[in-house]
Assembly symmetry: C2
């Protein structure tokens, strides 16, 4: 039987599979979890995947029940129905569209100022003059008369539709006009309907998050997240830069196109599931690290990989969405927040908008952990920032049994220091495994917080030394020689997992985490030295990762310099929250440009003492001298 | 043998032709003149036509000598080589690319103020800092330091190329930056080269004219003109409106696309033939009547055909050329001049910029004759304008032997009042036919000025009465019964013409001209009554048509109210000249918006006395009471 290569994204796991087998079979063989409640009979529609390259047999009747024509054209299939007929690249989507309530939980409890860049104005059209409203000058005159708006212009797309819209408005006596920054008309609709939506977009290296908001009152209507499809071009920012450099004139554009396809798909889901129209999204703000920022704008990030790491633009950019290709009201602008310097980008500026350390008297260290780690230390006197190459290990990538913190991931681990038995909690379930029957929690892998817990607990139990090496002690069969000959610790046995294999932590995994924490902890130390402080008054941890980690175990591992756990705040998705604040209040955009220029950026690679701190921080928890 | 329908544009002449015949054969059968110096052997390359619809047999070796790959892809063929194999729509291009000298002749002798909207700035890049210039902020800082420009932004397309351009500039130590309106960077090129071109575009209903200029000194580098391919959708503006109304959402767009294809083709020819790059065209101004203005912007002109004839926008519009599809520097803007009211559009505003009646003490009547006639009467105190539906007859369309004033057209006619013999002059040749051997001038048709001469001379000779009817007098065989039974006058016998048929003026032709002059003269009278004047102090005639007509004969015919011929000025292409002035001097754009709003527009259809004046003006020359 002929065998074909199947590459799964976002994990970039490769497997060879015989022709005729299903994509679901291939995923199981690759050790990847795809939800399938009907056991592969095409009845539940849960196993949606997206074929990015290659053909996967004919589209079946079963699939047409669950996959719309638009999604079909984008390559969506049911993994249990799509068949291997040649080489394939398959994206296992991790799309989530959440309700307003779940979304709010990840945001700090602080109401935004409501002063959006786009506002809707309902215009009364005097009856006897109804026939004349086809003219831009007439609309501008009414806006001046009824709302005092002066010196307006209109986008060409608005002018093209003006006559049609005003024709439709006949008899209603009203139109609603949407004006950007009090100066440009970006949409006109017939009748009285000032529904005006906005979008805050947080482009992460691995995950893209969207917040759909009502610009009139700040309500978060829905949030959505999905894998950044750019993972196909490499999992970290250096490999994205490299892809762009090796494909001049094409690479950045291709990554941009893939990103927009994912964003547009999510916008469609979020609007349709709420009975809204994407054409009513009148404004958007965008944050992301410097590389994501450049690719979003279609600017090749090549120079960011070379000294002096010059970004093409630092200040904020307003760019018409039709010049990008984002499927909201085409005349609207995307406001891309400013970047600081180096890789510390618009996402960190957004974190600052959310946390406002520049207004505080007390010094804070703010850590935003994603695929890259970004640090800001300081107060209203001065702020220092740096970027740490933590790599994706803390997100569960490049880890033997690693996965992201989604359903089925072991997120908490505790190890009995006497019997060395492991207990765990799983995302999407309640309580500890020991409180349930064997295998009831159905863990499929382990995510960053679970890995940190495991290492910290193994260190406390004496199974891992200060240097991170496993210590064979013969008292538990959980610590064993793995296939490579190196030691590994079994967190969950295969009979507990639907994957049918042990979930382990390998020596190599521990090394990966040591490198990540070395970079992060080392970066903290360099910033503290700049501010001439020995201990941290406050630590704020941003990012989804921060929501899952255990403070005690993180400190035991030495992820950060020691601090009283009481002084650690988990601030949730502060980058997304900052994007949301800038969406709701246009003055925050001015503030962002000012703040971005006041932060002093430290390039760690050029700091003499960083290497020393990095090496010290490889130890568990940290070698003080 | 199978026979196929061949439709020729711009004349919309239809002919049926056997399969296998050439397009040149079909054109001759249709009575259309196509230049062919090699008698159809594929050796001279003069008989270029463009196949708009259908296939015309295989592309030959001969054609590849004369037709570039790009032109081939646009459907260009040699008429003598392209063969009828099915129904065809064929455009006989009337493209002319002229040198700077010929162009200037049609402009008034007045130097423009040099203050363009886009200026090029050469930046010295300090050597040691060369590595940093990839940043927008660095470029903006240098522009501030070296030229005092503050608060600049840059188009997204400029940002995308910034790193590449500054890489190329390494070693040269200089870049050149092009800035629009002192506020937005629209292009950056490596090295020191401030070549900065601009384009003035005059979109006529029938003809499109372009002026390629050097924005640094006002030099006209080249001019070009071509048939407006929208003639396919109807020869006058009412039929264009009708096409748009009958194809909602598509019609205006399709006409816009055809226009841009022609404009882009001409831009390519004009730049390549002068060794220039279209990417160096940094700015453009656009004029045209209201319908052309709307279609240029992609705005459906449907409402212009219905009371109250509302345009979608009256003020000037700056629109990014990539939002249109015009192939110049994509970040640049097209500045579309304001329109007055009704059909009196941006072309008339441009005529006003050129003539400046609003600065003069003396009253002028300015007549711009194209497919539509536009009139402005007044001085610095007040100005009245109107539009006259003259129809295309004065341009030689819908006339039995009519043609435009191009090579081969009879442009002057004199008729001996005793013997009734006709003598004529032909565009592209010198002197009168009587001074040459028979048939030496090779007339192929008669254009507007020749028709006016003919009617005026026939009236003087007593062969046409005051009512416009031919009077049979039996003293010349030139006046005879035509095929329809009505009388017609032979201007040139078939042995004098390469077309092999008589060139005639029919009774129907005289009626068409009477209707046109009735509208034009009637419009003049209505405006004069508004200003309460009985006679004209000055008459300025704009447009290519005006350059050819004979003052005495026009007055004898009664095309305008009587005026001393000394007081008639032929002002050439004043609309194109106004577009050129607004291209060279940005302050003219502000002036245009002001002037457009100060002219009082008269809607002739709503004027009580217009109908009376129109009927009177049907008489030759004019029935005073």
């Amino acid at each position: 039987m002929e065998s074909h290569r199947i590459l799964f994204a976002p994990s970039l796991t490769e497997v060879f599979q015989e022709a005729g087998k299903t994509v679901l079979d291939a995923a199981l063989d690759a050790g990847l979890y795809i939800d399938s409640q009907c056991s592969g009979k095409g009845k539940c529609g849960k196993c949606r995947v997206r074929i990015l390259e290659g053909e996967a047999g004919p589209f079946t009747q079963e699939e047409s029940e669950f996959i719309s024509l638009i999604d079909k054209s984008l390559g969506y299939r049911l993994a249990c129905m799509a068949r291997v007929t040649g080489d394939l690249t398959v994206l296992i989507p991790q799309e989530n569209v959440l309700s307003s309530e779940s979304a709010k939980k990840t945001f700090p409890k602080r109401s935004p100022v409501i002063n959006p860049a786009v506002k809707g104005y309902v215009l009364e059209i005097p009856e006897e003059e109804g026939a004349h409203i086809a003219s831009f000058e007439r609309v501008a005159g009414l806006l001046r008369g009824q709302y005092g708006l002066e010196g307006l212009s209109a986008d060409i797309a608005v002018l093209k539709n003006l006559a049609t819209v005003t024709d439709e408005a006949k008899g209603q006596g009203k139109i609603t006009v949407f004006v950007w920054m009090d100066r440009e008309i970006v949409s006109i609709v017939p009748g009285q309907d000032d529904t005006c939506l906005g979008l805050a977009l947080d482009v992460g290296t691995t995950t893209v998050a969207l917040y759909l908001c009502d610009l009139r009152d700040g309500t978060i209507v829905a949030t959505g997240s999905t894998t950044n499809p750019q993972v196909l071009f490499g999992t970290d920012i250096m490999s994205r830069i490299s892809y762009s450099s090796h494909h001049p004139g094409q690479g950045a554009r291709r990554m941009q196109t893939e990103l927009f396809r994912a964003v547009n798909g999510l916008i469609e889901q979020m609007t349709i599931s709420n009975g809204l129209s994407a054409s009513r999204i009148m404004d958007m703000t965008v944050v992301g690290n410097t590389v994501m920022h450049h690719i979003f704008l279609g600017i090749p990030p090549d120079h960011l990989g070379l000294w002096p790491f010059s970004p093409s633009i630092q200040g904020s950019v307003d760019v018409r969405v039709r010049d990008l290709g984002i499927a909201i009201n085409p005349s609207s602008y995307a406001h891309v927040l400013p970047i600081e310097a180096g890789f510390v980008g618009a996402d960190n500026v957004a974190v600052l908008l959310s946390e406002e350390p520049y207004c505080r008297e007390n010094i804070s260290l703010i850590v935003d952990l994603g695929t890259n780690g970004e640090l800001v230390l300081g107060n209203r006197e001065q702020l220092f920032s740096c970027s740490c190459a933590t790599g994706p290990a803390l997100e569960g990538a490049h880890i033997a049994s690693g996965m992201r913190a989604t359903a089925g991931a072991i997120e908490k681990v505790r190890i009995d220091p006497d019997a060395f038995e492991a207990d765990y909690a799983v995302v999407g379930t309640e309580g500890w495994a020991s409180e349930h029957g064997a295998g009831e929690l159905k863990p499929v892998g382990i995510c960053g917080s679970g890995i940190i817990d495991s290492i910290a607990q193994l260190f406390k139990a004496g199974l891992i030394g200060q240097d991170g090496a496993f210590k064979e002690n013969g008292r538990t069969k959980r610590l064993r020689k793995g296939q490579s000959g190196a030691l590994e610790f079994v967190v969950a046995w295969k009979h507990e997992s639907p994957m049918g294999r042990d979930i382990v932590l390998t020596q190599r995994d521990v090394r990966q985490i040591q490198l990540a924490k070395g970079a992060l902890h080392g970066g903290c130390r360099v910033l503290m030295r700049r501010l001439n402080i020995d201990s941290l008054p406050r630590l704020a941890i941003a990012g989804a990762f921060g929501m899952h980690i255990d403070k005690e175990n993180s400190l035991a591992l030495g992820l950060f310099p020691w601090i009283d756990p009481e002084k650690i705040d988990m601030i949730g998705n502060a980058a997304g929250h900052g994007a949301y604040l800038a969406l709701m209040d246009r003055d925050k955009r001015t503030e962002a440009n000012r703040v971005a220029r006041t932060v002093t950026h430290i390039e760690l690679a050029l700091e003499e003492d960083f290497q020393k701190e990095f090496l010290r921080a490889l130890s568990i928890p940290y070698r003080e001298t």
